[in-house]
């Protein structure tokens, strides 16, 4: 069970993502942004940070990185892909997920432990959760406001593709309190909060995030 973790210039959370994969019993494989090579992995995580300095728009330059072209091709064939924070922004820019992330509505960078409600446990990354479960994981982002036109929102809601929703006060102005969404086939998931920082109560607020990585290992073993 090999899970690729991409590093771009400016990526911050690749080490924690790789550690989370290891906690879940998978083997983390380092992927480099400039390589056209996924190294035969079974799934890919696009981690958080500030790829290419967030110049132009968050994720706008990373989207064109050689490794992302491979990720897009693999995702279209059904490979599970998880985008966390900046990774979510990159997946939106790459059109693997609909919509876009904009500056937080109150302009402040938000860094806090955030309660999320699980709304779809049928994805490759969420099968270990119960629908309606609430989990506590860190949120740390300045451009986390999820935006999409009304027809896209209606489609996401109608098809049950909102995976996580913020509980309590909306931290960033995301439409419909959306924290994370999935692709039509449930294989690609993007979210702004950081499950990889909440895999062990020693180093995070909870171990609630570990379920995402355990879910992935389950889904690949099943397949």
């Amino acid at each position: 069970m090999r899970v690729g973790v991409i590093t771009f210039p400016g990526t911050l959370d690749d080490v924690d993502a790789a550690r989370a994969v290891g906690y879940a019993g998978g083997e983390a494989v380092k992927l480099w942004h400039a390589d056209h090579d996924l190294k035969d992995v079974d799934a890919v995580i696009v981690p958080g940070g500030f790829s290419y300095g967030d110049y132009l728009r968050c994720g706008a330059i990373a989207r064109f990185a050689p490794v992302m072209q491979e990720v897009v091709d693999a995702a279209k064939k059904g490979m599970p892909v998880l985008g966390i924070c900046n990774g979510f922004q990159i997946l939106c820019e790459a059109h693997l997920l609909p919509g876009a992330l904009i500056r937080n509505h109150k302009l402040h960078f938000v860094c806090r432990d955030q309660w999320l409600k699980v709304e779809n446990n049928a994805t490759a990354w969420t099968s270990r959760y119960d629908n309606g479960a609430e989990i506590l994981v860190p949120l740390k982002s300045g451009e986390g406001g999820y935006q999409a036109d009304q027809s896209t929102l209606d489609e996401l809601e109608g098809e049950g593709r909102v995976v996580f929703r913020y509980v309590g006060e909306n931290p960033n102005g995301s439409r419909n309190d959306i924290a994370g969404i999935t692709s039509a086939n449930g294989r690609v998931v993007g979210l702004m909060p950081h499950p990889e920082h909440a895999i062990d109560a020693l180093t995070g607020p909870t171990d609630d995030g570990l379920g995402m990585f355990l879910s992935l290992v389950d889904s690949v073993v099943k397949a």
Partner: protein, 79 residues
Amino acid sequence: MARVVVDVMPKPEILDPQGQAVANALPRLGFDGITSVRQGKHFELEVADDVDDATLAKIAETFLANPVIEDWVVRRVEA
């Protein structure tokens, strides 16, 4: 060589918190009568003569702007 300007603006229906912050600051600074501010991006490109309009439009649509949240306009200007 020609100069090409690309203006990128948040779509009218998309929240523009930066523009709102500027608008809210103006009265505090003593400037009255400004009812709305939208903040966007302005690109100036020096372009070889054989680059056609379709190519410029592709640059704007696929890279300089994100059409999900932004509108864009390309115009050629006197250098």
